[in-house]
Amino acid sequence: MNSKIKAPAIKFGNNIDTDVILPGKYLILVDPCELAKHALESLDTTFPDKAKKGIIIIGGKNFGCGSSREQAPLALKYSGVKCVIAESFARIFFRNAINIGLPVLECKGISSAVETGDELAVDFEAGKIENLSNGKKFQVDKLPPFILEILADGGLIENLRRKMKK
């Protein structure tokens, strides 16, 4: 997976929970493309349209709080989300995103540096975020090497398969 991403941003507030990202009534769906149609439906029914050309989500505190449902990051990834950058993440969502190959970065202060529509350039391996629309730059703590390895392989299963083949 290419660690450099360039896409417009869409900003959300604090505590974006997994019920809002992917409501419980859709958990019987297993096809990620079906799940994607309902991503963030409770907040914005047009989100899949906005995301389809590639988008970066900017979140506040505690992004992805609530359930362990992997269908939540899956819905985001398959709707077109390239990366999620938030002030802080709920732990299960953070792990799930990495495991399905959706890069996530914690960045304090990001909410006040980005508005919806701003063009962002992210190098998640290097931990560099740049708001091309207003010039603001961030250097965040790099993700641990083994997590970058999982993301580079495209997810945990691909990573495990590669390691088990050795």
Binding site: L27, S67, S68, R91, I92, N99, R161
Partner: protein, 422 residues
């Protein structure tokens, strides 16, 4: 070290661990249910191993869409049934188990001091037994099922020290809501929440389960209570071998990032108002809230003790006009026991509907959904927008006593006031 650190150290073959350290832990038990299992099975098959790492350590429980309300749900069940059969796993089918977090300890899969992972965020419930228990996603579960190991970052710990005796009709649910109200939905993010103090020591296992169940609602990695004689008595006969509980205690010099003190002696019934679990107030301060649905059940409060309390309040009374009340015992065993004790009759005579042991309305995907503009008061654990159906519905979270009292009055009611009137 504190108890969480001790369990993680042992599981990763280390003498000691420190917060922030990443350890590679051996897993003692992993559980998946009908909504997280199918994705896990799909991922497991892609890994390329033929058999699960240890078929005695993988448990499959059907509980969220039970019984199957749609062909899609029936297909998910079929997938899990087949996988459990192919791999010879412990499997709890419809009518033979109940809500996963009740079945796991009651059927002997929870042992103090062990590492238990579940593909469900409320897996933290089993911390009530002094186990390290935390929720994971489906892909993570597949990797654990294949390898028996997981990487974990050792959390910092927060201590919640509780003293005082509960007033009549004030319960552990009220306490945990008060704690969430104080700490906030991200107050314990990535941390371990350790519940201690005389109130906890005196608390039943059922109450401890309610506390640990909602640890995740504060962002905690795990909730935990030191196992003791109460734990031993509950698990006797359920688990094969009781471990030595003496070592499962936090050291006197264990480090905590924060310590919170609570005194329940003057605590009133609490309620989490829409639409955040930390929007907590005393019921008495909420004002008039007319309700449309009352739900008593879920992994948080669907146990016998909860049903007994609700039945005590509803006995001889009727569910208010315009309100529907759902009662769901958390497991088949609890259902049978509640029946024997005449509790189910109390509920049905009051006009409540008693449903099969499963998650029910809790996550808005199965039964008991809400229409736009409707309000439910519930003993479950989340009240996010759209949680129980329409995004224009409202959910208030409360104790079984508060929900039962509200069911008969038709509005959000402090159960301590109902007693006095009678």
């Amino acid at each position: 070290m504190n108890i969480t650190e001790k369990i993680l150290a042992k599981a990763s073959g280390k003498k000691a661990v420190y917060p922030g350290e990443i350890v590679d832990a051996n897993v003692d038990m992993v559980m998946v249910h009908d909504l997280t299992g199918p994705l896990a099975v799909e991922a497991f098959k892609k890994i390329g191993v033929q058999k699960v790492w240890d078929n005695k350590k993988v448990v499959v429980i059907l509980d969220h869409q039970v019984p199957a309300e749609s062909v899609k749900a029936a297909e998910l069940h079929k997938t899990m049934r087949q996988f459990a059969k192919d791999q010879n796993l412990t499997f709890y089918d419809v009518g033979r188990g109940g809500i996963c977090h009740q079945v796991m300890p009651d059927k002997g899969h929870v042992v103090p001091g062990t590492i238990i992972l579940g593909a469900d965020s409320h897996t933290c419930t089993y911390g009530a037994f002094g186990a390290f228990a935390t929720g994971i996603g489906s892909t993570e579960a597949a990797a654990v099922i294949a390898t028996g190991k997981i990487w974990l970052k050792v959390p910092e710990a927060i201590k919640v020290n509780v003293k005082g005796k509960f007033k009549t009709h004030v319960t552990p649910k009220d306490l945990v809501l008060a704690i969430i109200g104080k700490l906030g939905v991200d107050g314990a993010i990535y941390k371990s929440l350790e519940f201690t103090g005389p109130t906890i020591k005196d608390m039943t296992v059922s109450g401890r389960m309610t506390l640990c169940n909602m640890a995740v609602e504060m962002g905690a990695k795990n909730g935990i209570v030191e196992p003791d004689e109460t734990t031993r008595k509950y698990l006797e006969g359920k688990i094969k071998k009781m471990p030595n509980l003496d070592s499962l205690k936090s050291d006197v010099d264990a480090k905590y990032s924060q310590i919170f003190e609570f005194d329940v002696s003057s605590m009133e019934p609490q309620v989490a108002c829409p639409s955040s679990v930390d929007n907590v107030k005393p019921v008495s301060k909420v004002g008039k809230v007319k309700i449309d649905q009352a739900f008593i059940g879920s992994c948080t409060n669907g146990r016998l003790e909860d049903l007994q309390l609700a039945a005590k309040i509803m006995k001889g009374k009727k569910v208010a006009d315009g309100v529907r009340a759902l009662v769901i015992p958390a497991s088949q065993e609890i259902y049978q026991q509640a029946d024997k004790e005449g509790l189910l009759q109390i509920f049905t005579e009051a006009g409540a509907i008693v449903c099969g042991s499963a998650c029910g309305p809790c996550l808005g995907g199965h039964i008991g959904l809400l229409a736009a503009g409707e309000t439910c008061v519930s003993t479950s654990n989340r009240n996010f927008i759209g949680r129980m159906g329409s995004i224009q519905a409202s959910v208030y979270l409360a104790s079984p006593a508060t929900v039962a009292a509200s069911a008969v009055t038709g509005k959000l009611t402090d159960p301590t006031t109902l007693e006095t009137k009678a």
